[in-house]
Symmetry: C2
Subunit: 554 residues, 2 copies
């Protein structure tokens, strides 16, 4: 591998770990736990892994010896910065427990387990990937581990390699499935433990015990770097409104974190749009009003942050899409015979009055996308809609109307951006490098203690790393039942932005000021070698949450 | 101003300067110079500023005293990282020469001079902007300083503020105009010197004496950071071809530098396209062939870098656009009466057979852009074409054809990106921070020595900063006559990528390897505080050029 100067310099970085993980480690078990809701049903589904205690590792005095262990590891789902460090921490952890331990990586995600594609991760391999971004050490995949058949196929190779524990690094769904697998292997007495690690740049795998999912910190810092650069440009040339869409199909944690870091003029939060039952028109008007007010002050420029999934959080759009899906499914052949140039009018004619009005208000390109580009199941592909362009165009149209009545006087030129792939595989920040390494190292200790159905947990991460608290959380504890594909399924409850949470409240308290006054902050690129206040800070979200917790506990 | 942790830490960075600029400075004058061509004509146009010697500053022994000087400064054109440091260097330079010197900034570019909008740049103001990106300290503007009327209006405020020298920070055009202004003020005995500073992220203001324009280093490093991140993602998920367009309307220096930094599978260089008389079809086929070869190896992923201006370098496209402009200008009313859905066929019918064929081969959206969205002069707006999407779509179509004959077997999914605004206002790298500060500091010395019509020059910048060579180059020396708006004008010769230059040859020698084998390099974010091999490296372009010069001079 051809390495950049930074990669070479960064390879020798030794991640900081909780001091309790160094030296002699003692396990401390808490009280039995309950799932967040639907306790009875979840307990029924997980008779062998339900109700286990929370585990904390503390400094011990008595050195125990452990037999060598063969461990397997899987990267599941989308990339997030720090995945390689979880694996490095896991490797170092099992080696420190017994130097004869071995680590095997399954190739390209869960498929590797099912199809028996694997490689041994030796010290030499691991050293190539320490503190690097990406999941390329073994690759990742999106196959869901859900079926008994997959579990049994996997067990064959696990037994063959004498693997006694499997670590699954993934998001909420992957960790849910890790728990199902743990339950199954325990139930059949397979002798294979399963441990999960909380990954997702979206930040939506998060609760009292898992204070953040790894990768979120780095990804938000990369996005904030480039948004900050664009803000500085915007504030220098003073002639464009930049509409910036940020990755995150579901929760708006990324947009909120970036907003807290860069202080843009506008940031839309999907959860608020839904809670306030806002329409697309409401959002457009909200933006247009701010544009008009800034223009009145002579500022014909600004920054708008948009979470990728916002369209699906607009209740009225959800209804429109549902009706479109239903109508087009029933009248597919008829629709296909309509001339391209008449399709729009045809749809406007056929929809219910309410939805028809919304559809008619959409720019032509988006209207076309909503009817033409459907997925193999015939469903509208909302994810293909370029929301940043949609909003820029609709705001432009609205301003043109406002100009006629004199409600707006100014110039409105736009630039649009979408940031996602720029951050998913960035080299991890010190925070993520330390956090991930600690998660992996903790997973090794959970394995050594014979645990299964646990998620590796590292908390108190706004303190210096030496003070972090390492342990394990029973995955069932985070579960509830949710309707998926028509049936109720046990899943880890997804964490959305809480509108009564401190991070959102901080944003909401400042946004009117940020809207009119130009209060941009320029975070700059992630630094690895500088002063700790530059290099080792967690996300604003986490800092604000912890500040509030500290206040409340006083 | 609300500052990020990095901004606060970075504020105290003291840029490194050539040792000859510290302490007692002596001016050394070389032989009289000539313009790069059209010597007689240029001399006639610049009787007062032609033929001046190259200036080098060296260590002196005799301390001279200078009277205080009032200096004006203008930021001209697009933002480039480091502009604030030029101003800081200029400020510190004139203060070190005489502590009573004062600096005035003209607001929002040349307009500030003409309209008499200015502010004094005191130490307090300067300190707020040291080592920061952007041009927001005084703003920039694109008005061209070309007319006697503007010059005279400017002189009024210069005289009023007792300003004896004006520093214009800008690209090739702005520096050309700086020289015209210098000539005029000298001719009328205005008593105002004019000094230029070489700025442009595009890197096309470059010659023997000006080895790079400032901002190019930082911008390329920011682009390479995010391209590297995308490459790591690409190599982890192994399912997308990313088509990445890079800012640079004219020369392809940015694309080439990024390619040298990240080693993508494909990089198009506009100058090569033009030199080889390639068609759009040639480019599409070149990319499609590499996609097919990689697919045959099981690699259905890759990275393509595209310079923003490539369309205008394709000779056949230039012809098509010329015919379209001419035809539509003549038949505007007729065209407007054509139904939207028939416009494409109408155009295909009217163009010459050669251009008609090319037009027909374009995707519908692009064909529409070429006829519908014209600028106020009726010209096709090539810059609005989303070249990255155009190429992705055309390559997809070509691969579909190749699939039929069995020449291609694979999956082809694409993501597109455009990076420009992300880099223009980034905080300067150490290189740009040092280089810009030195350029400003050097400008102060040129002013003290009574020079006008010079560009500040800092050379030998692949060596440690203390060894850099500071001086001045007569702007006329870089000029030739070029046809602009119908007439011959004296302009600084734009520097395109030289196909026989070492940077391009290095790229060309490696590209076939990079195309098939995945040799991605991940440069990571700009570092300010780490080891010098990470923090202080100039661009690959410059390093390769200097290596070759060193070899040739042996």
């Amino acid at each position: 591998m051809n390495k950049s100067a930074l990669q070479r310099a960064r390879a020798s970085y030794m991640p900081k770990v909780p001091k309790t993980l160094k030296g002699i480690v003692k396990i401390q078990e808490g009280e039995p736990t309950q799932s967040v809701s639907d306790q009875e049903a979840i307990q029924k589904l997980f008779p062998n892994t339900y109700g286990m205690p929370i585990i904390t590792f503390v400094k011990g005095t008595e050195r125990k010896t452990y037999p060598p262990m063969n461990v397997g590891v899987i990267l599941s789902g989308g990339q997030a910065p720090g995945g390689h460090n979880v694996i490095a921490g896991l490797f170092d952890g099992i080696k420190s427990i017994n130097s004869q331990s071995r680590l095997f990586g399954f190739i390209l995600g869960p498929d590797g387990l099912i199809e028996h594609h694997y490689m041994e991760l030796t010290g030499e391999v691991i050293d190539e990937y320490r503190n690097t971004g990406g999941f390329d050490i073994i690759g990742s995949g999106r196959t869901k581990l859900e079926d008994k058949d997959q579990f049994d196929k996997g067990l064959v190779i696990l037994k063959q390699l004498n693997i006694s524990a499997l670590v699954i690094i993934g998001g909420d769904d992957s960790n849910t499935n890790a728990c199902v697998l743990a339950e199954y292997y325990k139930q059949i007495g397979a002798g294979v433990q399963v441990i999960g690690c909380p990954k997702t740049i979206d930040g939506d795998l998060k609760n009292e015990m898992i204070e953040t999912s790894f990768g979120f910190d780095t990804a938000c810092k990369v996005y904030s770097e480039v948004i900050g650069n664009i803000q500085r440009d915007c504030n220098s040339s003073r002639k464009y409104w930049h509409f910036i869409k940020l990755m995150g199909r579901s929760a708006s944690h990324i947009a909120l974190e970036c907003a807290l870091q860069v202080q843009p003029n506008i940031c839309i939060i999907s959860e608020e749009v839904e809670a306030k039952n806002q329409s697309l028109d409401d959002i457009v008007q909200y933006i247009a009003d701010i544009v008009a007010k800034r223009a009145a002050n002579g500022n014909n420029f600004g920054i708008v942050l948009i979470p990728e999934g916002v369209i699906e959080f607009i209740p009225a759009m959800k209804k429109l899409i549902a009706e479109l899906n239903e109508y087009l499914a029933k009248h597919d052949n008829e629709f296909k015979r309509i001339k391209r140039s008449h399709q729009r009018d045809y749809i406007i004619d056929k929809l219910s009055p309410e939805n028809s009005k919304i559809y008619a208000s959409l720019p032509e390109t988006v209207a076309r996308q909503l009817t033409l580009e459907r997925d193999p199941h015939g469903n509208v592909q909302v994810s293909l809609i370029e929301t940043e362009k949609l909003l820029a165009e609709m705001v432009g149209n609205r301003l043109a109307e406002m100009k006629k009545t004199g409600a707006y006087v100014g110039k409105f030129s736009t630039q649009t951006h979408f940031f996602g792939y720029e951050g998913r595989c960035a080299a991890p920040s010190n925070y993520d490098a330390d956090y991930c390494y600690s998660l992996g190292y903790t997973a090794a200790s959970l394995i050594a203690e014979g645990k299964t159905g646990y998620m590796s947990s590292v908390r108190n991460t706004t303190a210096p790393a030496s003070e972090w608290i390492a342990g394990g959380v029973p995955i069932t504890m985070m579960m509830n039942l949710e309707r998926r594909h028509g049936g109720l399924k046990p899943v880890i409850r997804k964490a959305y932005v809480k509108l009564d949470g401190a991070p959102f409240r901080t944003f909401a308290a400042n946004r009117d000021d940020w809207a009119l006054n130009t209060e941009y902050v320029y975070p700059g690129p992630i630094q690895y070698f500088g002063p700790t206040e530059v290099c080792d800070q967690p996300t604003k979200t986490l800092q604000i949450e912890h500040e509030e917790q500290a206040k409340n506990s006083k």
